[in-house]
C-alpha cells in the first residue's frame, strides 16, 4: 500500500509522457488527477491504519545500489513524520491537480503539464517516504528536476527558461552540500539508512555532527530558499501559478525543513549548527519580508513571503522546536497554497496581469476568490484563531523560551511586516477602487468550479488547521503525534536545559504575554496597511519618495541578483574563456610546436641527406642517382615519416631510461 503512494503518480506520468501528445491530449487530466487521487486514498489508508497502530515500520521493495559493504534499498519508512508529510503532499497535491484542470485549460502543453505534475508527486513522495538518505536524495533531486521542467514550462519565454536554469543550478549547489554530508554520515556509520544512522548518532563527535549538520543545512538552503541560496525562488514564479502553489509554496520548498527535522538526532549534538540555522532562518525571514513590503507583482510578494515563512520554520528547528517547525510547515502549506491559487484565479481573470497597480476592487467580481483570499491573509498574518496564528505564535514563543531573545525580536518584527505586506496585497487587489484596464474590466469573472472548490477546501483548512489538531496546539494532537519521531532531540534538549515537563503546565503569564505581542504585531500590520492603502491611498507614494533610498533598495531586492551576476557568474564565464584560450594556445601550442619541431627535424635530416650524404655520394660518383631520389622522398611531408622519426626518438629516449639509473 505504501509503495502505491509514489507509484501511482509515476504511472500517470509515464502514461501522459509517452502517449499524451498523440493520443490522450486534452484528456490528460483524467489520468493525472486519477493517479493523484488514488495516491491520496492510499496515503489516507496508510495514515489511518498507522493511527490505529502507531508503530513505525519499513517496507522494502528491492536493492537499488549495493557494492559491498554499501547497501541501499528502495524502501519506505512509515513513521509520524513521513505520514504527516505524505498527507500534506498528496492532499494539497490532489487539490492543486483539480485546480489545474481549470487553470491550464486550453494550454498547448496540457498533457506535458500533467505528466510533469505527476512526476513531481512521485519524486516528492519518494523524498518524504524514503527510509534512507540516498533515496531521499533521489527524491530531492527529482523534485528539483520537476521544478526545472515546470518553471520552464512556457519555455518560449526567455525569462522562464532563465529562471528554470537558475533554479536547478542554485539547487545543485545546495545538493553538493547534501551529498557531502551523506559521505560523512556513511564514513561514520557505514550505512545510509535513517534507522541505523539515528541509532548510532549519539556516538558522533561534536565536530562531525556540526559538519554534517551544516552541510545538510546547505542542502536545505538550496531547496528551501534560504540566504544565500534563496535567489531562485522569486524567479521561479515564471512557472504556471498552480505550480508555484504546489511546488514553490506548499510542498517542495518545505523539503528542507522536513529533512532537518528528520535529522534532529544529529542536530541535537551540534548546537553550533543549530544556532547557525536559527540565525540564517531569522535573518532570511526579516530580509525577505522587507523586500515583500514594496513589490508590485502579486506573485513576487507571495514568493518573498514564502522565503520569509520558510525562514520561520528554520528558526523554529534551529531553536530545537522541530514540531513547531513542522506544524508551521503544515499550516503554511494550506494558507500559502491558497494564496497562490487565489492569485492564480485573479491572474486568470485578468488575462495574465500580475501588477497590483492594475488591480483593485476585484471583490465585487470574484467573491469566492476574494473571501478565500481574505481568510488566507488573516491566517498568514497571524490573526487568531486562524491556522497561521497558532503555528507562528508557537515558533516565537519557543524561540523566546529557549533564550534567543534577539532572534525572537527579529521574528516579532517580521510578523509585523508580514501582516503589513499581506494586507497591503489584499487591499490593493480586492478592495478599494478598481485600477483595472477598461478593456479587461468587462471580462472579469469568477473562476470555474474546478478552481473555486479547491480554494474553499484550503480556506477551511486555513481556518481550522491550527486548532483542529487540538487546543491549544502546543499540547494538541500534532505534538503527541510527531514527538516520537523527534523524541531523541527533545530528550537531549530537555537534559540540556534541565527543564523537563514544562509543557504540562497551564498557560503561564509568559505564554500569554508572548501571545499578546504576536497578536499586537499582526494587528499593527493590519492597521497600518488599512490606513495606507484604504484610508489614505496617496500616502504610500509620498512615503516612497520621501524614503527614496530605502524604497529603491528594497524595490530592487538589495540588488542581490546583480551582485551575484558580477561577483560569481561573469568571472566564472571569463575564467572559462581564459581556460579555453589556455587549451588552444598553451597545451595545443606545445603539441603543435612539438609536431613542428618533428617536421622541421625531418626536413633538416632530409636536407642533411641531400647536402652532406648526397654530396659525399655525388663526390664518389653519379652511380647512386636512384638513392638520391629515394632519400629525397623524406621531405615530402607524409605523416608516416614524421611519425617514424618521432617513434624512433621516443624509443631511444625511453630505452635509455632503463639503462641509466638502475643497474643490478
Amino acid at each position: 500500500m505504501v509503495a502505491l503512494i509514489p507509484l501511482l503518480p509515476a504511472l500517470g506520468a509515464a502514461v501522459n509522457g509517452l502517449f499524451g501528445r498523440r493520443y490522450i491530449k486534452e484528456n490528460a487530466h483524467w489520468v493525472a488527477v486519477g493517479a493523484c487521487g488514488l495516491s491520496f486514498l492510499a496515503a489516507v489508508f496508510t495514515f489511518t491504519s498507522f493511527l490505529r497502530e502507531p508503530q513505525s515500520y519499513e517496507v522494502r521493495m528491492f536493492e537499488w545500489i549495493a557494492v559491498d559493504p554499501l547497501r541501499i534499498e528502495l524502501a519506505f519508512l512509515v513513521d509520524p513524520l513521513s505520514m504527516l508529510m505524505a498527507m500534506v503532499v498528496t492532499g494539497v497535491g490532489f487539490l492543486i491537480h483539480i485546480y489545474s484542470i481549470g487553470y491550464m485549460h486550453g494550454d498547448g502543453g496540457y498533457h506535458r503539464y500533467f505528466a510533469y505534475l505527476n512526476l513531481f508527486m512521485t519524486a516528492m513522495l519518494l523524498l518524504v517516504l524514503a527510509n534512507n538518505y540516498l533515496l531521499m536524495f533521489l527524491g530531492w533531486e527529482g523534485v528539483g528536476l520537476c521544478s526545472y521542467l515546470l518553471i520552464g514550462f512556457w519555455f518560449h519565454k526567455d525569462s522562464a527558461a532563465n529562471a528554470a536554469k537558475k533554479a536547478f543550478l542554485v539547487n545543485r549547489i545546495g545538493d553538493a552540500g547534501f551529498i557531502l554530508a551523506l559521505f560523512l554520515i556513511y564514513g561514520q556509520c557505514k550505512s545510509l539508512v535513517f534507522h541505523d544512522v539515528m541509532s548510532q548518532a549519539h556516538a558522533f563527535s561534536t565536530g562531525l555532527a556540526t559538519a554534517i549538520g551544516i552541510l545538510l543545512f546547505v542542502g536545505a538552503m538550496g531547496k528551501s530558499a534560504q540566504i544565500p541560496l534563496y535567489v531562485w525562488l522569486p524567479d521561479a514564479m515564471e512557472g504556471p501559478t498552480s505550480v508555484s502553489a504546489l511546488i514553490h509554496a506548499a510542498t517542495m520548498v518545505t523539503a528542507g525543513v522536513y529533512m532537518v527535522a528528520r535529522n534532529s538526532a544529529i542536530y541535537a549534538l551540534a548546537p553550533a549548527a543549530l544556532n547557525f540555522m536559527a540565525s540564517v532562518g531569522a535573518i532570511t525571514a526579516l530580509f525577505a519580508a522587507s523586500i515583500a513590503l514594496v513589490q508590485r507583482d502579486i506573485k513576487k510578494v507571495l514568493a518573498y513571503s514564502t522565503v520569509s515563512q520558510l525562514g520561520y520554520m528554520f528558526l523554529s528547528c534551529g531553536v530545537g522546536a522541530y514540531v513547531s517547525g513542522m506544524f508551521h510547515l503544515m499550516t503554511h502549506a494550506f494558507f500559502k497554497g491558497l494564496l497562490f491559487l487565489g492569485s492564480g484565479s485573479v491572474i486568470h481573470a485578468l488575462g495574465g496581469e500580475q501588477d497590483m497597480q492594475h488591480m483593485g476592487g476585484l471583490r465585487k467580481h470574484m467573491p469566492i476568490t476574494a473571501a478565500t483570499f481574505t481568510i488566507a491573509t488573516l491566517a498568514i498574518a497571524g490573526i487568531p484563531p486562524l491556522a497561521g496564528f497558532w503555528s507562528k505564535d508557537e515558533i516565537l514563543a519557543e524561540t523566546f523560551k529557549n533564550g534567543h531573545k534577539l532572534l525572537w525580536g527579529i521574528g516579532a518584527l517580521t510578523a509585523l511586516m508580514t501582516s503589513f505586506y499581506m494586507f497591503r496585497l489584499l487591499f490593493l487587489t480586492f478592495y478599494g477602487k478598481s485600477r483595472v484596464h477598461h478593456d479587461k474590466e468587462h471580462h472579469l469573472h469568477e473562476s470555474p468550479r474546478t478552481i473555486t472548490i479547491p480554494l474553499s477546501i484550503l480556506a477551511f483548512l486555513s481556518i481550522f488547521g491550527g486548532v483542529l489538531p487540538g487546543f491549544p496546539p502546543e499540547r494538541g494532537w500534532i505534538h503527541g503525534f510527531l514527538s516520537p519521531a523527534i523524541s531523541s532531540v527533545h530528550h537531549a534538549k530537555e537534559i540540556l536545559h534541565g527543564a523537563a515537563e514544562h509543557g504540562a503546565h497551564a498557560l503561564s503569564l509568559l505564554d500569554l504575554t508572548l501571545m499578546a505581542v504576536s497578536i499586537g504585531a499582526a494587528l499593527m500590520g493590519l492597521a497600518a496597511a488599512w490606513y495606507f492603502y484604504l484610508i489614505r491611498p496617496a500616502l504610500p507614494g509620498q512615503w516612497a519618495s520621501r524614503l527614496k533610498s530605502i524604497h529603491t533598495l528594497l524595490f530592487n531586492k538589495y540588488w542581490v541578483d546583480e551582485i551575484y551576476l558580477s561577483v560569481f557568474v561573469r568571472p566564472l564565464l571569463k575564467l572559462c574563456n581564459r581556460l579555453w584560450d589556455f587549451d588552444l594556445q598553451g597545451i595545443d601550442g606545445i603539441v603543435n610546436g612539438a609536431s613542428r619541431v618533428a617536421v622541421k627535424s625531418a626536413e633538416e635530416s632530409g636536407r642533411f641527406d641531400l647536402k652532406f650524404i648526397d654530396g659525399v655520394i655525388n663526390d664518389i660518383g653519379k652511380l647512386f642517382d636512384k638513392w638520391h631520389d629515394i632519400l629525397r622522398r623524406w621531405q615530402t611531408g607524409f605523416v608516416q615519416n614524421y611519425a617514424l622519426v618521432m617513434v624512433i626518438g621516443v624509443l631511444v629516449l625511453a630505452t635509455s631510461m632503463f639503462f641509466i639509473p638502475y643497474h643490478f
Partner: protein, 523 residues
C-alpha cells in the same frame, strides 16, 4: 567453458565483423548501396546477438577469466593467441557491439560517399575494439590496439568535417606516441618476468601469468610511467586531452559515437587491466598524482566546456570531465571507487554516445553545430527535445538515471580515500549541470529565431529506434543497476586483492625464492 554451440565463441564474436568487412570488400560493388548497408547492419546485429548469448553463461561468482581460448601463435617469442573475458571486459564488449549497431544505423543517411570503405572500416574497427577487450596476450593486445587506430584514422580523415586532416593526423600521432610507450612497458614486463626473481621465469606475454609478477618498486614506477602516458593519452587525462575535441568535432557522427563510447574506454580499461593488477605498488604510489590530474580534468573539462560555442566540442570537453570521474574512481582503489569507475565507463558510453547521436541528428538537418544557430527547437522537434532532455540529465548524473549510480559510487570511493577528493569532484557535478542546462536552454528554449529552423523535421522512426535502447539503458541502470553491478563485482574484488600483493623489493628478493608467487595459473 569456452564453446557455445560447438564454436569458440570469443573468436567468432571477435572476427565476425572482420568477415563482414571482407564480405563488403569482396561481394559488393561500389554502387550497391543497399547491399553494403545491409551487410554491415546484419553483421553488427549478429555480433551483438552473439555477445548477448555469452551473458547467461557468464559466471558472476568468480574473478577468473572465462571463455578462455588458447592457441600457439609465435612460439619463438612466447606470444600466444589467448582470449578471455571477465566482469570488466564483458560489459565493455556488450557496449561495443551495441554501439556498433547504432553507429551503422545512424550512418545510413549521414554518409553518402564511399560507402564500401566506410562500412568496411566501421566493422574492422569493431574487430579491433573487441580484440582489445578480449586479448589476454600482450602481443595480441598490442596488435588489436593498433588495428583500431587505422580505421578510426580513416573515418576521421575521409568522412570528417572541414578540418579533418589536421584532426586525423593529430589523433593518429598522439595515440601512436602513447602506444609506443605502452609497447615499451610491455617489453619491460616481458623481460622482467623472465627473471625468476620477479616472475614465472619464462618468456611470455601471457597477461594471466603476468598478473602475478612481483617487481621491485622502482621498476614498477618506470613501467607505470610508460603505461601511464600510453593510457592517459587514450582516456584522455589532462593535459593529454587536446586531440579529443578536434577528433570529435571533425569525425562523422558514428565515428564520434564509437570514439567517445568505446575508444576512450581503452585507456581506462588499460589502467584497470594492466596497471592496477601488475604494478600495484606503483599504482598506489602514483594514485595521488593521478587523482589530482583526474580532478583537474573534472573541473577544467567542465569549465572549458562552458566556454564552447560548438555543440560537439562542448560534448567533447564534457567527456574530459566525465573521464576524470572514471579515473578518480579507479585510483580511489576501493570497491566502491573501482566499481563506480567501471560502471561509469559504460554510463559514459551510453550517455555521451547518445549525445553525439543527437548532435548528429540536427547536424544532418542544418549542417551546422554552432549553438547560436539554434534556439526554440523544442517547438518544432518535441520528440527530439524530450530525447535530448533525458540524455542530458543522464549525463549530469540525475538520480534515477544511470550517470548518478556511477558518479555516486566514484565520489563515495574517492571520499573514503581522501575527503577533499570528493569535495573537489562534487564541484564538477555542479559545473556539469551548468554547461549542459545552458546548452539546452540555448538550443531548445526560447523562440525559433532562425527561419531555417522553422521547418525542421522531428526525429524519424529510425532515429527514435536507435535512440530507444540507449534511453532504456539509462533508465534501467539508473533504477535497477543490480545486474550490472553483479557482473562487475567479482572482478573488481579480484583487482583489489591483487592490489594488496606485496612487492618484491631488493630485500624481498631472497624471500622470493622461498615463498613462491601465489598460485596463478588460471587455465
Amino acid at each position: 567453458m569456452t564453446h557455445i554451440f560447438g564454436t569458440p565463441i570469443l573468436t567468432l564474436l571477435c572476427f565476425l565483423p572482420l568477415i563482414g568487412t571482407l564480405a563488403i570488400v569482396i561481394f559488393t560493388r561500389k554502387d550497391e548501396e543497399k547491399k553494403i548497408k545491409n551487410i554491415a547492419l546484419w553483421f553488427s546485429v549478429a555480433a551483438f546477438l552473439i555477445s548477448l548469448l555469452i551473458l547467461p553463461r557468464f559466471r558472476t561468482d568468480t574473478a577468473e577469466m572465462q571463455f578462455v581460448e588458447r592457441a600457439e601463435w609465435i612460439p619463438a617469442i612466447g606470444a600466444e593467441y589467448l582470449l578471455g573475458i571477465d566482469g570488466i571486459s564483458i560489459l565493455l564488449i556488450l557496449l561495443t557491439t551495441l554501439l556498433t549497431v547504432i553507429a551503422v544505423l545512424s550512418s545510413s543517411t549521414a554518409i553518402t560517399d564511399r560507402l564500401k570503405e566506410y562500412y568496411g572500416s566501421l566493422l574492422l574497427l569493431e574487430t579491433g575494439m573487441l580484440g582489445v577487450f578480449m586479448a589476454l596476450d600482450f602481443v595480441l593486445f598490442y596488435v588489436f590496439w593498433e588495428v583500431m587506430l587505422v580505421p578510426m584514422y580513416f573515418l576521421i580523415g575521409i568522412w570528417g568535417g572541414p578540418n579533418r586532416l589536421y584532426a586525423a593526423i593529430k589523433f593518429f600521432l598522439y595515440t601512436l606516441f602513447g602506444s609506443v610507450l605502452m609497447l615499451l612497458g610491455i617489453l619491460a614486463l616481458y623481460f622482467l618476468n623472465a627473471d625468476p626473481a620477479f616472475g614465472s621465469g619464462e618468456h611470455t606475454f601471457n597477461m594471466i601469468t603476468l598478473f602475478n609478477v612481483q617487481l621491485p618498486f622502482h621498476f614498477q614506477c618506470w613501467i607505470f610511467a610508460a603505461f601511464f602516458i600510453g593510457f592517459a593519452i587514450k582516456v584522455p587525462v589532462f593535459p593529454f586531452h587536446t586531440w579529443l575535441p578536434d577528433a570529435h568535432v571533425e569525425a562523422p557522427t558514428a565515428g564520434s559515437v564509437i570514439l567517445a563510447g568505446v575508444l576512450l574506454k581503452m585507456g581506462t580499461y588499460g589502467f584497470i587491466r594492466v596497471c592496477l593488477p601488475m604494478l600495484p605498488q606503483a599504482s598506489e604510489f602514483f594514485a595521488p598524482f593521478v587523482a589530482v590530474l583526474a580532478m583537474i580534468g573534472i573541473v577544467y573539462g567542465a569549465l572549458v566546456a562552458m566556454a564552447q560555442t560548438d555543440i560537439k566540442k562542448l560534448v567533447a570537453y564534457s567527456s574530459v570531465s566525465h573521464l576524470g570521474f572514471v579515473m578518480l574512481g579507479l585510483f580511489a582503489m576501493n570497491s566502491q571507487g573501482i566499481t563506480g569507475g567501471v560502471l561509469q565507463m559504460i554510463n559514459h558510453g551510453i550517455s555521451t554516445g547518445a549525445l553525439f547521436l543527437l548532435v548528429g541528428i540536427i547536424y544532418e538537418r542544418r549542417h551546422t553545430r554552432k549553438i547560436q544557430e539554434f534556439g526554440g527547437l523544442a517547438h518544432v522537434m518535441p520528440v527530439y527535445a524530450a530525447l535530448f532532455a533525458v540524455t542530458l540529465f543522464s549525463s549530469i548524473g540525475l538520480p534515477g538515471l544511470n550517470g548518478f549510480v556511477g558518479e555516486f559510487l566514484i565520489l563515495l570511493g574517492a571520499f573514503q580515500k581522501e575527503l577533499w577528493y570528493a569535495a573537489v569532484a562534487v564541484s564538477g557535478i555542479v559545473l556539469g549541470a551548468g554547461y549542459m542546462l545552458w546548452l539546452y536552454q540555448r538550443v531548445m528554449f526560447g523562440t525559433v529565431t532562425h527561419p531555417e529552423n522553422k521547418m525542421l523535421k522531428d526525429c524519424s522512426r529510425r532515429e527514435v529506434l536507435y535512440m530507444a535502447p540507449l534511453i532504456i539503458l539509462m533508465l534501467w541502470i539508473g533504477i535497477y543497476p543490480k545486474p550490472y553491478l553483479r557482473l562487475i563485482e567479482s572482478s573488481v574484488m579480484g583487482t583489489i586483492q591483487s592490489l594488496k600483493r606485496p612487492s618484491a623489493g631488493p630485500d624481498l628478493m631472497a624471500m622470493a625464492s622461498q615463498t613462491p608467487p601465489e598460485t596463478a595459473a588460471l587455465i
